[in-house]
């Protein structure tokens, strides 16, 4: 047993402690903004955070808050509270949980710091628009909307002009709310740090191309927080350098995220926050490692459009063409590229009641992958935060059956 514990200890990612430290300091900073005279902006996960950093505004992410609510298993309770306020139980559970927290400073960290402004980019969904309207009415603060028309089959010239024009509107908005000029030199630095952070994040995720993968999607769900929250800061760059070094070390030593990795899987959609541990152990017990996912990789997907030397100029396209803001066929293409890159044996799709733009189209993506790659897919019906939508027995049975399929395939090939 002693040896087993030792092996387990070896597999733990050491930088986790540092990450927790950074996030705690960040939330303390945000929660004491009133005392320090800093402005706070609430911003969507796909939103343009770099101009906020350049203006010394503290960005706060209600979606990250939603994930924390889910991970602390407070989702069902808060969602019920939102339902009592009149919000349908079919609405996004991030939104429900956050809306329920606001008036009572509820949730795992006693509510988010009061915003001075809201910044909403609808590249991830239409839900954020409605959610931010609710919060803008509640807090009575200005709302900026970065409207990124969905690129069903491409990025039209008209959309390009429209989104580009809005970057200027955004800067004017920030200047007005902050009462100071925008610093065009500073944004260049912040932009460089942002790109550097995204590249490092991509490199970290790419270490999972190794067998065994040193990092799993479950680890990535956790370490993601910085590229979302503090993108554009030196802190993020430093942290990811550390994490990357640790991953490279693990590769050299052959330490895998899962003790004896046999099956490599790709995860699609948001995590099931209140069950990440259970799911991680469940898959590990079958020697299956989730080596990649479409969710955490979305924060470096814009690298293909970014121009490091003209960060502001390329920002529009980076936001308009993210993973969720494209057509289902293009999404399928990207999933297949990832399947090849990380050499996976199958796909696990989370059909997430909370996220319609992510989930509708999954059946077609599943079909396209089956037809073009012959990869098996497992569909799990759940919700990212509202644990009332999670049926353990059913999901366990489905995972077991899926692994049997993979085993059968392996044997047939071997």
């Amino acid at each position: 047993m002693a040896e087993k514990d030792e092996a387990k200890e070896k597999r733990k990612i050491k930088t986790v402690a540092k990450m927790k430290e950074i996030m705690t300091a960040y939330y303390i900073d945000a929660k004491t903004a009133v005392q320090t005279g800093k402005k706070v902006a609430w911003i969507t996960s796909g939103g343009p955070v770099e101009p906020l950093i350049a203006m010394d505004v503290i960005p706060v992410y209600p979606e990250n808050h939603g994930a924390m609510v889910g991970a602390s298993k407070m989702g069902a309770d808060l969602c019920e509270k939102a339902e009592a306020m009149g919000y349908s139980s079919d609405l996004c559970s991030y939104a429900r949980a956050d809306i329920a927290c606001a008036p009572v400073n509820g949730g795992p960290i006693g509510g988010l710091p009061r915003p001075d402004m809201l910044v909403c980019c609808n590249n991830i969904c239409g839900t954020v628009l409605k959610w931010y309207e609710v919060q803008a009415r509640f807090f009575k603060v200005p709302l900026f909307i970065l409207d990124t028309p969905v690129c069903h089959t491409g990025y039209s010239e008209e959309a390009k002009r429209y989104v580009k024009g809005q970057i200027g509107e955004y800067i004017a908005f920030l200047e007005k709310v902050c009462g100071k000029r925008f610093d065009y030199d500073r944004i260049k630095e912040v932009g460089k740090l942002s790109v550097q952070g995204q590249r490092l994040w991509q490199e970290i995720l790419d270490t999972a191309m190794n067998r065994p993968a040193p990092i799993s999607a479950f680890d990535a769900f956790f370490h993601l927080a910085l590229i979302v929250t503090l993108r554009g800061t030196g802190q993020t760059v430093d942290y990811y350098k550390m994490l990357l070094a640790e991953m490279q070390e693990r590769v050299a030593e052959g330490i895998g995220a899962v003790p004896s990795e046999k099956y490599r899987l790709l995860w699609d959609n948001l995590p099931v926050w209140y069950r990440t541990k259970w799911l991680s152990e469940k898959f590990a017990s079958h020697d299956a490692c989730l080596v990649a996912d479409t969710y955490t990789s979305a924060w470096c997907g814009a690298l293909r459009y970014v121009d490091e030397n003209d960060f502001l100029g390329s920002m529009a396209e980076c936001h308009a063409r993210i993973y969720l803001n494209i057509g289902v066929d293009e999404m399928a293409m990207q999933v297949m590229e990832m399947a090849d890159k990380y050499d996976v044996d199958g796909i696990v799709m989370h059909s997430n009641r909370s996220c319609k733009p992510y989930s509708f189209g999954q059946y077609d993506i599943q079909r396209i992958i089956r037809e073009q790659k012959g990869l098996p897919t497992l569909m799990i019906e759940a919700d990212m935060v509202d644990e009332r939508s999670f049926s353990e027995g059913q999901i366990e049975t489905r995972i077991d059956a899926f692994i049997e399929v993979l085993k059968g395939k392996n044997q047939a090939m071997g």
């Binding site: 409605k130 409207d147 069903h152 289902v328 989930s359 509708f360 059946y363």
Partner: protein
Amino acid sequence: MIPYEETKLMKQIEECHQILKDPNGYVKRFKAESGRKVVGTFCSYAPEEIILAAGAHPFRLFGSGEKIRLAEAHLQSYCCSLVRGALEDVLDGRLAFLDGVVFPHTCDSIQRLSDIWRLNVPDCFHLDVVLPVKLDTDGARQYMIDLLKRFRVELGEKLGVRISDDDLRDAIRIGNRIRAALMRIYHLKGERPEILDGSDLYALTRAAMIMDRTMVASLLEEVAEELEKKSAGQSVAGSAQKGTAISVPAPKRIVLSGGVCNQPDIYTIIEEAGGAVVGDDLCTGSRYFSGLIDENTDPVTAIADRYLARVVCPAKHRGLTDRADHLVRLTREKQAQGVIFFLLKFCDPHAFDYPYLNEALDRAGVPTMLLEVEDRLPADGQLRTRFEAFVEMIQ
């Protein structure tokens, strides 16, 4: 003896009811007779005038309510019945007569339906009109204009025609005639709820989304005229008989608010419970026809400007309280005594707005009731009891 005009009116309304029973059948016949191309559309932001100007026939798709079998393989159960129903219809061949389909961007579900349709429905051209979501900036207006210009060209290419400004102006005039006539009819219905059954009003409005637009423009204008005459006649008769008529309690005045309502029975059940729908904020109602298009300016700009000024759908943004302000104003204008929210299950934009709209009405002292419907109305008796209780409660 029923006067001649009255018989004619009844016939026209009956014609709309008949068409509504089988919209696909009507359009198939219309297509065979006229040789016109049929273009399916979703939502009230579909630029019908441009489709009309291209010589094609715009046909609004709702889903026929048939059991979902084929769409199950593409859309999860937590998708609304409108989106799943439309996909079911097309996959099952019920929409084989469509030459093309136009998807204006509205909500997340329609967005994905567009992709799924494009990937699974062959032999039917497909165009996205990715409208701006915010409608209150100069940039958004310019984008809307640019986008409609692009749509004009793309649609012309698909249909093999060149759409001239004159074609657009003609189409705008027809659209305006329909909208103006519907506004007159709605106005009368608000003034004198007993003049027209709610289900008739519903049939007239829905017919405007299905029928040949030139024909329906004339039909609606005639109906408006006859109703105005009927109303004037009744006023005269009413004042002559003053004091002698047996007093029938006036129906309680109700406004309907929500998205798509394709349940004509709801009007009848409200009426039988002692209420009358005197106005609405529905996308199958006044949002479809409110606001005329300027006929004296650049036609594409004029079409865009109507969308920007029109009563807003919750999937769009024009200020933080635009919808509540409108709804409160509407209830005052219509002297409504209560509002019934008619929401489609799994319709996120409407579900997000419901609490704040409800709060605004509460502050204005207007009682409300929420009815959430998945694909069909709840059991008749249950709904009747709820409406009766609501109608009884309101003053």
